[in-house]
Symmetry: C2
Subunit: 243 residues, 2 copies
DNA sequence: ACGAAACCTTGATCCAGATCAAGGCGGCGA
DNA sequence: TCGCCGCCTTGATCTGGATCAAGGTTTCGT
């Protein structure tokens, strides 16, 4: 369950310091957070929080990836969010959450007990403001995903997913080759996109056959023809892409 | 365009005073808001804001209903939110929005110019906190809708939509008959649910034939068999419904 | 190094919902 | 009052993606 990890540092040296809920904090505020936090670790596949379970702490995701998912009575599930480093888990003012949170890779969380944190939010506008920004960014992402789920074809969904990963990994590693890591299995991708795993596999294969993408192994791919990929997403040509 | 309306009142008497962005404000704060606000009116069908247009004001919806929608290159559209009285339009910190806002009925907005409002958010924790609550509630709603769009059948989508309206109108009018008003056309409902208008019409008909609902006219219906309706939504039996 | 389990691919078939098509109904302006 | 137009219903047909099915491949524990 609890996996050891070496990313436990003081807030000042934290890798997500400038993007997480603490981004706007000055060094005094950071000192308070530093004394409140504890780290927790989860292995890939572990459930971090169950829907409806009393919420004892809130947290920032430090390393790894986690999914938010909702389930229907008969077991159909839909992923409703993908958390990456600096994303926030839990919401002040609620004692439970409406979805399950699962570690998709090994995960490190920076945790704060809920009630002291809520007090902090009341007293510290910098935290409240940042929390609002994070919530509004997630809302934008959720709405973008609603368009995908409601109106895009399977091919467009896959292309959008790959393009999203390309854009994101491009920000991190500035080198040309655009090697992309899929942190999810075909089954998890299907849950994310509102498809079945067979359909995901088929459309990966056809994009591969068309020379748009190439796989080095099952979890690593490369975009060979970015214009074709963007064309396949069905989105407006927004042009805001840096070559 | 601009439709006259009689709901222009002082904040203290405002019908949405206890639910809108001003909900947590004390009377001094309310006085400031009162002096900043202006009302605007829109007729059913008018576009309130276009995607990407510079955002000059933010607003609370006072009366009527408005939809948020996103569009793909080829014209397919998906409604990504339905705004009702007390809901908030716009986001402090951004100069534009990512979707179109359209009046679905005649609408009254309580508007604040963006930059003074942003200043107010900085200085007034009560406003910032309430704004965050509203954003997080919308995020919950968006995720619930992602489950619907990604995994529910057409019948389940329609049943969920009707049950949502039933729940909401039940809160407002406590009388038994549960007469529900559809503010949307079949086409708009289809855009909301990620379906076509024909499919919406067909499933309304079949729920009618089964005696679950009854229409008095095209825009007014009654729930005859609430348990059957809830069964048809595909959701967990949550039991949290007051008879 | 071996075997089992988890994961992925590809093929065949089926079906829910889209699309195409043809009226019906009701409200509104002339 | 009539006729048009916007909206809704219902039927016929088509099709994209689900489902069912059968291996292939990688990973991991022993």
């Amino acid at each position: 369950m609890q996996v050891p990890n070496i990313t436990e540092v003081r807030c000042q040296e934290c890798p997500i310091r400038h993007r997480a809920v603490c981004a706007r904090c000055d060094s005094d505020e950071l000192e308070i957070l530093n004394s409140m936090k504890t780290y927790r670790h989860f292995a890939a596949g572990d459930v971090i929080l169950w829907r409806g379970e009393p919420l004892e702490y809130v947290a920032s995701l430090v390393t790894g990836a986690a999914s938010l998912s909702k389930t229907l009575e008969d077991g159909r599930t839909q992923m409703v969010g993908l958390l990456l480093p600096s994303d926030f888990i839990g919401r002040p003012g609620r004692t439970e959450i409406e979805f399950d949170v699962t570690a998709t890779t090994d995960v490190t969380l920076c945790c704060f007990n809920r009630s002291p944190f809520e007090k902090l939010v009341e007293d510290t506008p910098h935290v409240a403001q940042r929390l609002m920004e994070l919530a509004l960014d997630e809302l934008d992402a959720a709405r973008e995903w609603m368009l995908l789920l409601g109106r895009k074809t399977a091919r467009e969904k896959i292309a959008t997913f790959v393009e999203m990963l390309a854009r994101r990994s491009h920000v991190e590693q500035k080198d040309a080759p655009r090697l992309i890591t899929l942190y999810l299995t075909r089954d998890q991708i299907a849950n994310y996109l509102g498809l079945t795993l067979e359909t995901v596999s088929r459309h990966f294969s056809s994009l591969k056959k068309e020379g748009v993408i190439a796989f080095s192994d099952r979890h690593h791919l490369q975009v060979l023809d970015l214009p074709a990929l963007q064309e396949a997403t069905g989105d407006d040509a927004d042009g805001g892409f840096v070559s």
